[in-house]
């Protein structure tokens, strides 16, 4: 495992938000490494900096200082359009609030990342159906989000994250908006995806969710507080 390029290799990440006179240091030097095939949870209270870290890891934001490489690619110096391409190719996002397009069918939602990857018509549809099948929702492909339950919506969102076969699944409180039973189903799905070889980074403040992962990183005041195998 050590010989392979790590999925995430970040050293000395700092992030400072300046609002006029006041500047807030959200990350105060974080070193973080994630190997291929790992299932890791990041925990931290709100304000701990875990969201900031997630945004940087997700290439939605750039660190003020430090270096970050994703799949061996130096990300912190990339231009906006390159970052968009990196997000599209290497990262599958799963959000707490699902963030499905309300007026598009489940299949159309799943196809969306492939639209930006310039995958055309038929292949796009086939790949979307493939991942919908994987999350057990092939029969719901033509339903709109408001015709689906919360758990089904999150499964559509996970299918959408998987459709580009990303190097990293990045989940931000994926069970936060679900009841515990549905949450457990979603967690089980993540565990299965991990077993199939996916690399997963999951952010949560729920210790029960964090237990599902093989490794737990606690963030506090912009620093790594602890990093333990679960």
């Amino acid at each position: 495992m050590d010989g392979a390029v790590p999925v995430i290799e970040a050293t000395g990440l700092r992030k400072v938000y300046s609002m006029g006179e006041v500047s807030v240091e959200a990350l105060r030097g974080i070193d973080f490494r994630l190997a291929k095939g790992e299932f890791t949870a990041i925990m931290g209270a709100s304000g701990s900096g875990k969201s900031t870290l997630l945004n940087i890891i997700g290439c939605l934001d750039r660190p003020t200082e430090g270096s970050y490489s994703l799949m061996g690619r130096q990300v912190e110096t990339m231009m906006d359009s390159e970052l968009a391409a990196v997000r599209n190719r290497f990262i599958g996002f799963v959000f707490q609030t699902f963030n499905l397009l309300p007026r598009a069918s489940a299949a159309a939602n799943v196809e969306l990342p492939l639209v930006y990857a310039r995958v055309q018509g038929r292949e796009r549809r086939e790949r979307a159906m493939e991942v919908l099948e994987r999350v057990g929702l092939a029969d719901r492909a033509d339903h709109r989000p408001n015709q689906l339950s919360g758990g089904e919506r999150q499964r559509v969102a996970i299918a959408r994250a998987l459709v580009t076969r990303p190097a990293l699944l990045l989940a931000d409180e994926p069970t936060g908006n679900l009841d515990s039973r549905t949450g457990a189903v979603i967690l089980e799905l993540f565990r299965n995806l991990h077993d199939e070889g996916n690399t997963i980074l999951l952010v949560t403040h729920d210790p029960g969710v964090a237990q599902a992962a093989g490794r737990l990183v606690r963030i506090r005041d912009g620093r790594v507080e602890s990093d333990t195998a679960g």
């Binding site: 945004n55 997700g58 939605l60 934001d61 906006d80 359009s81 968009a84 391409a85 997000r87 599209n88 190719r89 996002f93 959000f95 609030t97 963030n99 397009l101 007026r103 598009a104 159309a108 969306l112 990342p113 639209v115 930006y116 990857a117 959408r160 580009t164």
Partner: protein
Amino acid sequence: MLLSAAADLRSNRLRTVLTSLGVLIGVTAVVSLVGLVTGLENYVRSQFDSVLGARVFEISKFSGGFDDLDAWMESRSWPDLTVEQARQLSDLMTTAGAVTWRSGSGATVSCGGRSVEGVRIRGLAASEIDVASMSIDHGRFFSEAEDRARARVCVLGSDLASALGSPPGMPGRDVVIGGNRFTVVGVAKPLGSIFGHGLDDFAAVPYSTFEALLARRDDNDVEIAVLPLPGVTVEESQEEARLVLRRIRGLPFAAADNFHITTQQGMLESMQQVLAGAAIVTVGIAAISLLVGGIGIMNIMLVSVTERTREIGTRRALGARRRDIVRQFLAEAVIISMGGGVLGLLAGYGLTILADRLTPLPASVSPLAAFLALGFSATVGLLFGVYPAWKAARMDPVEALRYE
């Protein structure tokens, strides 16, 4: 990209329709107004063709076109065009197929028990028939001999003939014109009307007879009409008439003409100037309504961008570049705008057809007008979609994802 934009619009149908209403009304206005102006132009052209005869030109003291007051006052100070000058012109011109002269007044015409007041009395030379501005349906036109003899004969316009009796029955009957007895020798073929004004309510008598019995006492002025010979251009003949008439009227070399020559082309041109004015007004209305429509689109697009902040954030997270977001919102703006344009085109086309049926104007929508209407509505969508699209693309994805 376009399909997904269309899908978003479909789900917000009412708002989309209301938004495109501005452009719709603008395009409707433009298409129907352009259709009307085109119709008006065709109408004017057809009227001139049917009534005047394309090659005849007219010489008179007063301009046949649209003159300002100063020009009119100056014309008034010029010496009259007399019958004598007209006769000389007829003798001297080599490019004229026919030269005729006319004058007019008004009088009451009666026959049997019937009587029509305020009839247009025309004093015409016998050569009027050669200029081809008049033809005879029943009977005949009067001859040059009758003109020389001041014969009391007349030719009636078809409307007047109908008012006094029946057109075929009138030749041979006597009528009283302004207190003088005349014998009807013919009834003219209907000329129809120009700009809604009937042309067939006249009584024509030989010019000499007119001069002796019916002319206003102080009015010796005539209008001269010339039909160029076949094979001679109107311009050539017109220039010859001008030079000959100058000589007849004894104008010094340096002096300006003291008469007007009006060609059908000239009248069409001055009509077209008026129509060009109407076209400019149309363009102004179009510009204003499209501007208003465009602002409406921009307004709704800005609302839509704000409402869909989180969608924009999600799309960015999934790999949309800024330019993908720009494209998406521009596509939406253009679809709204073009939708309004297409509906407006249909509505304008409908109104034009209606105008064509209900008025004498042969109104029609040219393919160019239709093309322009669609082109402009697409342009409006693009122009007014740029700012909202730019605003959407400029959003920070992190902020956009956090937006409630």
